[in-house]
């Protein structure tokens, strides 16, 4: 069964790129993009990020997710910093 990458996309749009053949496998790169447009063409934002690779071997398919390690570590450090600041505030009270 080939997984559906559009599940849980939310406000992001999932797009598939050109298939890349590698031996018996076919790799389909998937990207998620967020497009925001201000009214009256006053500006906008486009955020594209890699989502994963759909690996197809015959009739079988699996999704290999691309993990943004830097973003995860950054988020964890900042969350730890905020939690530490709250804890320091509570301890010194």
């Amino acid at each position: 069964m080939i997984p559906n990458p559009t599940n849980g996309a939310g406000i992001f749009e999932t797009k598939a790129g050109e298939e890349v053949a590698h031996g018996k496998r076919v790799l389909i790169p998937l990207a998620r993009s967020l497009r925001l447009r201000l009214p009256g063409n006053a500006g906008g934002l486009v955020w594209n990020r890699p989502f994963g690779i759909l690996v197809r071997e015959g009739t079988r398919g699996r999704l290999v997710r691309v993990v943004d390690a830097t973003r995860w570590i950054q988020t964890l450090l900042l969350a730890a910093g905020i939690a530490g600041a709250i804890l320091a505030h509570l301890v010194r009270r």
């Binding site: 790129g17 496998r25 993009s33 006053a42 934002l45 486009v46 990020r49 890699p50 690779i53 905020i82």
Partner: protein
């Protein structure tokens, strides 16, 4: 009389930058494409390498126009106007991972940006230190 010549001069002056802004917006929106995220596949023997990056494009525009009616030195009514606009934008790209496909399987090798992590760690440490020191300072406002 043609439609162009009937158009208000202010409106016609405003139309060109507005169209330009619309063109730039269209090219910005077209940046939401998979080809911008994944690089060209690199083949090395049995191994295939596919680089992946995060791309962020931001643009903003602003424009305005105004006009008025006045009198020249001879007292003849004169009409004038003007307009202007500007815009700016930025594109940011950052390597996220490298996809390595070999006969053994498909693996994702994350690209870790140590500078960003070090900055996040310093910011986190700053939060804790500021909170700790802020609490230890004596409250002089109410002491007197």
């Amino acid at each position: 009389m043609s439609e162009q010549s009937e158009m208000d001069p202010q409106a016609s002056a405003f139309a060109a930058p507005a169209n330009r802004a619309a063109d730039v917006m269209e090219s910005l929106i077209s940046a939401a494409d998979v080809s911008k995220v994944y690089g060209e596949p690199i083949r090395q023997g049995d191994t295939l390498i596919l680089p992946a990056a995060e791309v962020l494009a931001i643009a903003g525009f602003g424009m305005g126009s105004g006009g008025g009616v006045g009198r020249d030195r001879q007292g003849t009514p004169q009409r004038g106007g003007g307009g202007g606009g500007g815009g700016g934008g930025k594109t940011l790209a950052r390597s996220v991972a490298v996809i390595v496909a070999s006969p053994e399987g498909v693996r994702i090798r994350p690209v870790i940006d140590l500078t960003k992590i070090a900055l996040a760690a310093l910011t986190a440490a700053g939060f804790v230190l500021a909170s700790w020191r802020g609490m230890s300072k004596p409250k002089r406002f109410f002491a007197r």
